[in-house]
């Protein structure tokens, strides 16, 4: 008995992403950012995207390619301080940015992936980030109701995948990838190495295959994945 094979070519996988789609991008800085999938998204050019990523990468990398190409209308992130273009576009009104506290962003995505509607937290109470949000009381403590955050697509980067889409992430390249892989209607994973089913020990699977829809092999790893020299 074999499990389904999710292998796809990068062009047809990304062709599913339509104008106006919401797209989650894994990564925290460079590690875990699916640069090749983003590059293909730029090549195909769907517009008016809502991008959900921890950060906006740096100028000339990843999210910045989409911004430069005018494909992003809204960005949901925790911090964009390393990308001067993103900040300038936000200040000029060319880009709508929703800032979410980093752990709340992670949890809103995780909750969506867990099939739940939201969660209650006291994080941000007494600060401007609580303004306009629904408040509820749980066991006598008032908190903010944070809604689940899902997306039409998630693009994630794994070090190793098997053909069923079981994923293994390297070191700190895990970050938002396993959360986003669970939270989208369609998850497209790129992997540096694709192995036969059975070659990743079941105990070492970080993202189980049922969460992955399309699997793209990276034949070579462009320089953008490498060590950044500042």
């Amino acid at each position: 008995m074999a499990m389904p094979d999710k292998s796809a070519d990068i062009g047809s996988a990304i062709a599913r992403i339509h104008d106006g789609a919401s797209v989650m991008l894994g990564g925290f800085g460079v590690p875990g950012t699916p640069f090749c999938l983003i590059e293909e998204l730029v090549r195909q050019g769907p517009k008016n995207l809502t991008i959900i990523k921890n950060d906006a990468n740096e100028m000339g990398m990843g999210v910045d390619w989409l911004l430069e190409n005018g494909q992003v209308s809204k960005l949901v992130a925790s911090h964009i301080g390393l990308n001067a273009r993103a900040i300038a576009m936000m200040n000029d009104g060319a880009l709508s940015v929703e800032f979410v506290a980093q752990g709340i962003l992670a949890e809103r995505i995780r909750i969506a992936g867990a099939g739940l509607l939201g969660f209650v937290t006291d994080i941000g109470m007494g600060t401007p980030l609580a303004e306009g949000k629904q408040q509820v009381s749980v066991n006598g403590v008032t908190g903010i109701l944070e809604p689940a955050l899902k997306a039409d697509f998630a693009l994630v980067h794994a070090e190793t995948a098997d053909t069923f889409g079981n994923l293994f992430y390297a070191a700190a390249a895990r970050n938002f990838n396993p959360l986003m892989a669970m939270a989208a209607h369609c998850t497209i994973a790129e992997a540096e190495t694709i192995v036969d089913q059975g070659r990743i020990k079941p105990e070492n699977v970080h993202t189980p295959g049922p969460f992955v829809d399309q699997l793209v092999t990276l034949k070579q790893l462009p320089e953008v994945y490498g060590v950044v020299r500042r």
């Binding site: 460079v30 949890e107 060590v227």
Partner: protein, 218 residues
């Protein structure tokens, strides 16, 4: 800030990192406290991007492209290091597993309020993990110059900028003094060597409780 005053402040903050602690050091000045920590001491450094047990920084030549800390520096694993996703990383923070966090400040108030992420209209790169660190670490230390570049106090009666978290700060380390937030108010506990007490009082934008007798220096 003079570099020796700065080094003194970093060295003083480092003394409050104790064996057995799990610690998160904010990006920028707080990270530099590490240069003054005895690295043979048994502590667990946490990084928001999913590391418990952050090891020494590496040069680009030695670096693992997949292993950065939350500030983007290439770091190394040590015996006992673990990696996890961002939800688990902030579960560690919110559930009170951090014994100490050291953070920077735009403004800090005598009641422990902290403002360190946004200057409306001038600086708004996003909040990152600051709110959760400030609100949920068991102990919060702030490293800051006592005054801004124009000489205005950064330690105030009340913050004027939007808060990161209310009543979260326990201790302030500045280039001039160490101050503790207490129920009675902000208490001066130590003074930098060679700094005059009246200068500290004048540079502070809120009432300081000054204990009787000589103050310890650092």
């Amino acid at each position: 800030m003079l570099s020796d005053a700065r080094e003194r402040m970093l060295r003083r903050a480092a003394r409050d990192i104790l064996p057995g602690m799990t610690v998160n050091l904010g990006i920028g000045l707080p990270t530099q406290v590490l240069h003054h920590v005895d690295r043979t001491m048994a502590i667990c450094l946490h990084s928001e991007n999913g590391i418990a047990g952050v090891g020494p920084q590496l040069s680009p030549e030695e670096a693992d492209r997949n292993l950065i800390d939350a500030g983007g520096a290439y770091v190394s694993p040590i015996a006992g290091t673990s990696y996890f996703d961002s939800a688990v990383s902030f579960a560690i923070v919110r559930s009170g597993r951090l014994d100490l966090t050291l953070l920077g400040a735009f403004e800090v108030a005598g009641n422990g309020d902290l403002a360190n992420w946004i200057i409306p209209g001038r600086f708004s790169p996003g909040v990152g993990g600051a709110i959760e660190l400030a609100q949920k670490a068991r102990r919060v230390g702030v490293l800051t110059t006592h005054t801004d570049k124009r000489g205005n106090p950064k330690i105030l009666e009340r913050c004027t900028l939007p808060l990161t978290a209310a009543a979260c700060v326990n201790r302030i380390y500045s280039d001039m003094a160490v101050c503790d937030v207490t129920p009675e108010g902000l208490r001066l506990t130590e003074i930098a060597e060679g700094v005059d007490l009246q200068d500290v009082i004048d540079a502070t934008g809120t009432t300081l409780i000054v204990p009787d007798g000589p103050l310890p220096t650092f």
